[in-house]
Symmetry: C3
Subunit: 272 residues, 3 copies
């Protein structure tokens, strides 16, 4: 495999980027722990009084719409503008886009007001924010969207081109595009869908890798998705038969133990 | 055992009901994961701007008072009314009722404004909302109430009749009544009391079963309590000796692995 | 070892103090579970309408600044005043003090308005609130502060004297001082730093021990830090090789299994 992904993993561990999150209260603990497990340092702070200040000392910002409310939207905008001013990567996770008009308005607002570096979501969310129409069911991808997931590459590429950022579509195969290249990461395991927050954790990993390598957003996002995909496979092999609770612990184990050898042995991806 | 409970478990897995939660930030992650583990789909959304919209696309609504505040109370009312309008089940968990006048007022408000399908709490909380007086100590049942827990059946039945809903009293033996029948579920393990959120998770399971079978609220609530009780027993057998952390993972394991055979072999209940 | 720490552990288990937390949404679940694991009873309630009432029925109050916002600051002040009035211990965890002016102002406000029993933080946070200057990086101790951690004893003692409370500086070696004595607890494991919330959990343990023994704040704080330190060692021995997820479960296991024999065999501390 390309040495670039191993180098990026090493960069995260060496640079220990501080990753500012304004995120939901459902999966925030998982996000903090996965950020630590990959070698970065999480800070969660959503008060309007400090959101901009915290982004200003961070190496990356992750904005996650999971449990959106008026108070934190204002903080997301302030943090996003601060991050843009400082020039650090901003990762946007439009959780549940399409599920309510409020979510749609806020997603549009964030996409208009903030210069985003990476947008990551499932196919329903990404199709929705791309303006292609979708049938979002809560926070999981809809089945009709999943059936058409082979179009993820094109959707990602078009949205990436339109917004001038990297777009990541999570799924059985993950698709990452910067508007020019399309990368497919084949690592992963269906059991990841049985845990809450595996999507949010992907966004935290993207924030961690992009914080460590802000000039390599496409590769950094790819390395992040590989990490989660490989960890999902290892977690299934080590504990999946036991059930969801053991699988969850094993997932965190695998991210914390991720190393060059595992990347080299396990990574499955292709570029188009 | 009655085939009805196995059928209900299968219904949850087949219908994958979307269960909207407005719940506390202490145990919300456990609630989301247990909802996924039983086979349903959780969505947590508490902004007033979207609470009604999200309930309108859900198959059940769970209102949990754990970390109540003025902002989310308004959202609970909006979501509850939306759920009532659509005719989906509303499960109410009056966490800590009796512990402060604020909690008591809000519990009364919710019970007055929303048509509830199921109320679940420990004996202190249920006695309190039933207007029987109680001595709540924080969020756990008080010892004097526990000593009188053999009156749970009568309390549940009277409250169920008064409110026209199913009432579930969690305890060493769980009591479920629709105002006519009283069902006792004997499954469970004391170690469940050593983890935060096992009560909240019961409410999420009730939401999941009721969302899948909205016309069988008594049986659905019973199946939910059986699931948690059996899972507690299995978790203790598999990991209880190790301590609370392993027990927690094993509890999620057991819910995710729950199946017809386990129900048939393990369920212990009786109807009065 | 001194019998006093074993006696304190027994007191927590016997008295089951109710520990009111106003804390952050990142690690709140860990705090609730660790409070239960040591034998106390957690209650998390941050609405201004009930904060004072809940403190009034509690045996200790823990104020944690992790994800501070204007709404919960008001509740912290109300709860703190109620706790002061009732005379129960108040534990303050100034998470991220130094990371933003907002955090600094709120830390100062709490220290001015509330009579604190114990302040616990890492060396960066404690140096900051002590007015000694520091270079906080997010919520983890900065490396330059860690390099000078041998000054922790003096910092703790001076701050304790200045504020008339117990000060706990968490680190590779924990330092506890009441302004007269300085106690060093040598238990612990570096892997504790790989999990989010191990600091917050220490504060919850301090709240649990102080709630059970409000007249022995120095010893109670020491017993709490010993508990976490020993649990970290045991968790590493039992599961550390597997990775962060297994280590986390093992940490909760170890706290729930903590007993006199383990204290006697494992505790490493010295008084100056």
């Amino acid at each position: 495999m390309s040495k670039i992904y191993v180098d990026l993993l090493n960069k995260v561990r060496e640079n220990k980027p501080l990753v500012h999150h304004i995120t939901n209260y459902v999966t925030v603990n998982e996000c903090a722990n996965i950020t630590l497990a990959i070698g970065a340092s999480p800070v969660m702070a959503d008060a309007i009084e400090e959101a901009a200040d915290i982004s200003a000392i961070a190496q990356a910002l992750v904005l996650n719409m999971g449990t959106l409310n008026a108070r934190t939207v204002a903080s997301m905008l302030a943090a996003g503008k601060s991050a843009n001013k400082k020039g650090i990567p901003v990762v946007f996770d439009p959780v549940g886009a399409g599920a309510s008009s409020f979510r749609n308005e806020i997603a549009a607002l964030i996409m208009n007001e903030i210069t985003l570096s990476v947008i990551r979501g499932n196919i329903s969310e990404i199709k929705f924010v791309a303006g292609f129409g979708s049938q979002t069911k809560g926070v999981d991808a809809s089945e009709s969207d999943l059936a058409g997931a082979d179009s993820a590459g094109q959707t990602a590429k078009e949205l990436a081109r339109k917004l001038g950022c990297v777009v990541v579509v999570s799924g059985a195969v993950d698709t990452i595009s910067d508007g020019k290249k399309i990368i497919h990461v084949e690592n992963g395991h269906p059991m990841l869908g049985n845990l809450t927050g595996t999507g949010c954790m992907c966004s935290s990993l993207i924030g961690s890798f992009c914080g460590a390598a802000p000039n390599e957003l496409l590769s950094a996002s790819t390395a992040a998705m590989m990490s989660m995909g490989i960890a999902g496979e290892l977690a299934y092999e080590n504990a999946g038969q036991k059930g969801n609770g053991s699988f969850r612990a094993a997932l965190h184990d695998a991210i914390s133990k991720m190393d060059a050898q595992t990347f080299e042995k396990r990574a499955r991806y292709n570029e188009a």
